[in-house]
């Protein structure tokens, strides 16, 4: 009971209070050099339609990244759940987190840059350099790389719970391997898939550093615009309104998970 109180206080002070400030500020008027005027206004939300293109771009980049991440994570999680070295393999999945994510993003620049390792290799064979980076696809690649562990872990935990005999039964009853995977395994790990989807899609949608570092002229995402509105334009209400948009998307995701849990 004592511990619950600490936990509640933690959530209240470090989560609920800042969140309420963001929600509150989005309904106020901006001041010229940052800060807010204490008068109610919906003006910041009226700005949002201007950003349809940006929102759409963020959504498709995050969506494509999430699907790719799930497609890659499924076989990995399956393999680990059936392996005899589970703990070791799980450790390997988590190891990249020991390095700061910014450094890992920079590493991609070293590998794929115009003057990077691969292009220097191509150059040695007299081939023209390829511009891998500074476009939305580079952003997708690095998002997939960064968030892959977030998809593997929940998928692993739900696959571990799947009784192996169900899969064997399906095989015995004449299903081929593909059918076992699609018709038996996938429906049984739906909950894991959903959590993996939410764990990847929500942070991907709010990406900031990845599009900034490996993106180019047309790969800015909503996170970059929030930072720009807050810092450069100094329009705190608009920045808050855009953050709220992201919060609403996350909430919908979390509600989806919770509803599923209840149905079970």
């Amino acid at each position: 009971m004592k511990y619950t109180a600490v936990y509640v206080l933690w959530l209240l002070v470090l989560f609920l209070v800042p969140l309420s400030i963001v929600v509150l500020f989005s309904f106020l008027e901006p001041r010229v050099h940052g800060g807010v005027l204490w008068s109610f206004s919906l003006r910041s939300y009226s700005y949002l339609p201007q950003y349809l293109r940006l929102i759409w771009r963020s959504a498709w980049i995050a969506g494509v990244s999430t699907i790719l991440t799930l497609v890659l994570a499924l076989p990995v999680a399956f393999y680990i759940s059936k392996s005899g070295h589970k703990n070791f393999l799980l450790l390997l999945v988590v190891v990249p987190f020991w390095t700061n994510s910014l450094i890992r993003i920079y590493a991609w620049r070293v590998i794929l840059g115009n003057n990077g390792v691969i292009n220097q290799f191509l150059n040695r064979f007299g081939l023209e350099p390829v511009q891998f980076l500074y476009n939305p696809f580079a952003v997708i690649l690095v998002i997939v790389y960064t968030y892959l562990p977030f998809a593997i872990l929940p998928l692993f935990s739900s696959m571990e719970k799947v009784d192996e005999s169900i899969l064997e039964a399906a095989l015995d009853l004449g299903a081929n391997k593909r059918e076992v995977f699609v018709k038996v395994l996938l429906p049984n790990v739906k909950a894991g898939l959903l959590s993996a989807f939410v764990f990847v899609f929500i942070p991907a949608l709010g990406s900031y550093a990845i599009p900034d570092l490996v993106g180019g002229l047309n790969s800015k995402m909503i996170g970059n615009e929030i930072a720009r509105q807050l810092l450069i334009v100094k329009n705190w209400p608009v920045a808050s309104a855009m953050s709220n948009l992201l919060i609403v998307v996350s909430l919908v995701g979390i509600l989806l998970i919770m509803r599923r849990e209840k149905m079970k």
């Binding site: 050099h33 920079y106 620049r109 500074y134 570092l213 002229l217 810092l231």
Partner: protein
């Protein structure tokens, strides 16, 4: 490994320095040389904490949110000095405590339109935003903003991800003021930037310096001292820094004391220490920039990247208040 060692050392030092006065500085990364800070600590038997920011905006957001508390000396650029004065975040400088102020160049003191009487700010460094060329890849070029029109360098160039700097460059290229309030001029500048946008790889303020030094980018728009410090020894001749012939934007970074400073007296001592000609010379040598301190120029050992005279054709970016909204709109039309 190195990081954790530094961390350990910091913790040790923190304990050993218990009881001494502490000066909290908030400045650009690598802007004040380590030795200067260490000498100051020794001379005044105090401890200095040096926190860094990457942009004026980042600094301002933090100071504004903390209502000017937490730091004793900050190094904002001119437009942000005037914003911070207007927002009441700064306190007046006591000039009787800064006798070394007399060494500062009158020409620079006349340019600080953001605080003409230096009631709140003391200039630290000044410079121009420049174009840096990696000469290994680009041999022939004209020292003009028109370099960004060159189709043959498409995809090899970057402009700063900074509205005032980029629009300022385009305005200068057209022969207008970087602080124009004329809509027609701004629309023309927008067309220029849209043309440049066709040729650049991206708007980049965070990694252009590494980029041009490693050859990832060939031509970048940015701050000379950022690039200068990253060039490996012996490769200096491969890089050219130029202020375009049309002129460009000028920046003046000043030292200010925020309202909520805890150690005002030590802050004044620090500012005075920086203005000591011998120290000012070491700082200018370290940054590769001309010194605003007339007396310091005698002690300088290196030739700055550009001369003081070059700076005179550049124009200071001033705070435009409400009119900034027009700049914001135009910039948004460019980047979206």
């Amino acid at each position: 490994m190195k990081k954790s060692l530094i961390l350990l050392l910091t913790i040790l030092l923190t304990f050993s320095a218990f009881g001494r006065a502490t000066l909290y500085i908030y400045s650009w990364a690598g802007y004040v040389p380590e030795e200067i800070i260490r000498d100051f600590e020794k001379k005044f038997n105090c401890r200095v904490i040096y926190d860094t920011y990457a942009s004026n905006e980042e600094m301002y957001a933090k100071i504004k949110a903390g209502k000017g508390k937490g730091y004793d000396v900050i190094f904002p650029s001119g437009d942000h000095v005037s914003i911070m004065i207007k927002e009441g975040l700064l306190q007046k400088i006591d000039h009787s405590k800064i006798p070394n102020f007399k060494y500062l160049d009158k020409e620079i003191l006349n340019k600080t339109t953001f605080d003409p009487k230096h009631e709140y700010s003391v200039p630290y460094m000044m410079g121009a935003t420049v174009v840096v060329v990696n000469k290994k890849y680009v041999k022939n070029y004209e020292k003009s903003w028109s370099i960004f029109e060159r189709k043959d360098l498409k995809g090899k160039m970057t402009l700063l991800d900074d509205m005032r700097e980029v629009l300022g460059a385009a305005l200068k290229y057209l022969g207008y003021s970087v602080n124009t309030r004329n809509l027609k001029e701004l629309e023309e500048a927008k067309k220029v930037v849209l043309r440049w946008k066709e040729n650049i790889l991206k708007f980049d303020s965070s990694s252009y310096a590494d980029g041009v030094v490693t050859g990832e980018y060939w031509v970048v728009h940015g701050y000379a001292e950022d690039v200068y410090q990253r060039i490996p020894k012996g490769e200096e001749k491969n890089f050219d820094f130029f202020i375009p012939k049309e002129g460009g934007t000028l920046w003046i970074d000043s030292m200010v004391i925020p309202k909520g400073a805890a150690n005002v007296d030590l802050a004044h001592k620090f500012i005075n220490f920086i203005l000591d000609p011998k120290n000012a010379a070491r700082i200018a040598d370290y940054l590769g920039l001309p010194s605003p301190n007339v007396e310091a120029r005698k002690y300088m050992k290196t030739k700055p990247i550009y001369s003081f005279e070059d700076l005179l054709k550049c124009e200071l970016i001033e705070d435009l208040g409400e009119f900034l909204e027009v700049y914001n709109r135009i910039w948004q039309e460019i980047i979206m």
